[in-house]
Assembly symmetry: C2
Homo-oligomer: 202 residues x 2
């Protein structure tokens, strides 16, 4: 087995757990928070600042009117590069360096796009029906259905915007992935098994 698995996921689908369980079953490294931590370390920013830069771009009202206008909302690092862009570029380097170390599982952070030139990637998208996602989010975060629905909507919109902004492609469109899975319909453990078998069988 010599594979990099990237998992993109809608909020409330358990995509993070699938990635964690898959990495454990395969006996390989799992990267999610570590990408942020290493990006912070490498760029000299704090973890919070690195995370905020994504939110700054994707939650701005102007972003939803026209992507190019978001520059008006950003802080610039000089040479026309915004701090958010700078953070993203450092993050790309971190992802490439981690992937170069060997087989592993990435969750989020446009890793599928960042590693698109590697031929040993399996790109996965985990999705779900609205009601299933709300149920999962409520259970995981101990909140009301209304709070869950609002949080999911905001998070998924943010991820879609972030992906579109940096990749010029659409998040969650089948052509970008080798496999997509409805985790509630298939089941979390079955999803892990399917991905495990794809990895070890090729």
């Amino acid at each position: 087995m010599n594979k990099i698995i990237t998992i993109s996921r809608e909020c409330g689908t358990g995509g993070h757990i699938i990635g964690e369980k898959l990495a454990k079953k395969l006996g390989v490294d799992f990267y999610d928070r570590e990408i942020i931590e290493q990006t912070a370390k490498k760029s000299g920013f704090t973890n919070d600042f690195v995370e905020e830069q994504g939110d700054r771009i994707t939650n701005s009202i102007l972003f939803n009117i026209a992507n190019s206008l978001t520059y008006a909302n950003q802080v610039f690092a000089g040479n026309g590069v915004s701090l958010a862009d700078k953070v993203f570029f450092v993050q790309c380097d971190v992802i490439k360096e981690l992937a170069a170390k060997g087989p592993c599982v990435f969750v989020g952070r446009c890793a599928d796009y960042v590693l698109k030139d590697r031929e040993d990637c399996i790109n996965v998208f985990v999705h779900g029906k609205k009601e299933d996602k709300i149920k999962h989010y409520m259970e995981t975060n101990q909140c009301s259905a209304k709070e869950a629905e609002s949080a999911i909507k905001k998070r998924d919109k943010s991820r879609a915007n972030f992906y579109r902004y940096y990749t010029d492609s659409e998040w969650g469109v089948v052509g970008n992935y080798d496999i997509t899975l409805d985790s509630a319909s298939i089941g979390i453990d079955k999803c892990v098994d399917i991905l495990y078998n794809i990895c070890v069988g090729k």
Copy 2:
């Protein structure tokens, strides 16, 4: 195992073969051409006529301007129902009757939509990258790359239009399926194994 599997597929992905192999492995019935034959028998039209009605709708130039205008291109059966619609309605009945007989695999014909009220369906979409689909089509149909590309484009557009017209939903959008597979990337036999394991494991 008590499952109905519906497979929708882009042209040149081997989705038909996956369905055939899966049905054989599961020991259940496989329906593709039989839907047309039974629809013809039930409606009193010929097999060719049944097939043509789909093409008549989806390949009309007007269809691509505005779906509602396609009525101008259609032959009406009376009571404002076009012959194409009549054929589709009969086809829906045929699919439901076949599904009621027991576990089986359907390929195409909007079976995922027709059977949307059943809870024992696993809806699959098989897709692929343009170059892989052209290669597969050339091998299967002994034609040039140019002919393959043209045929694939026409067929996929036709399927997407047909699906949109009758289901008011989009063909190939992740939310409509339990699982989507890039057959060239995953491999035809591996796709069959994955679907088999989902069916027998649940």
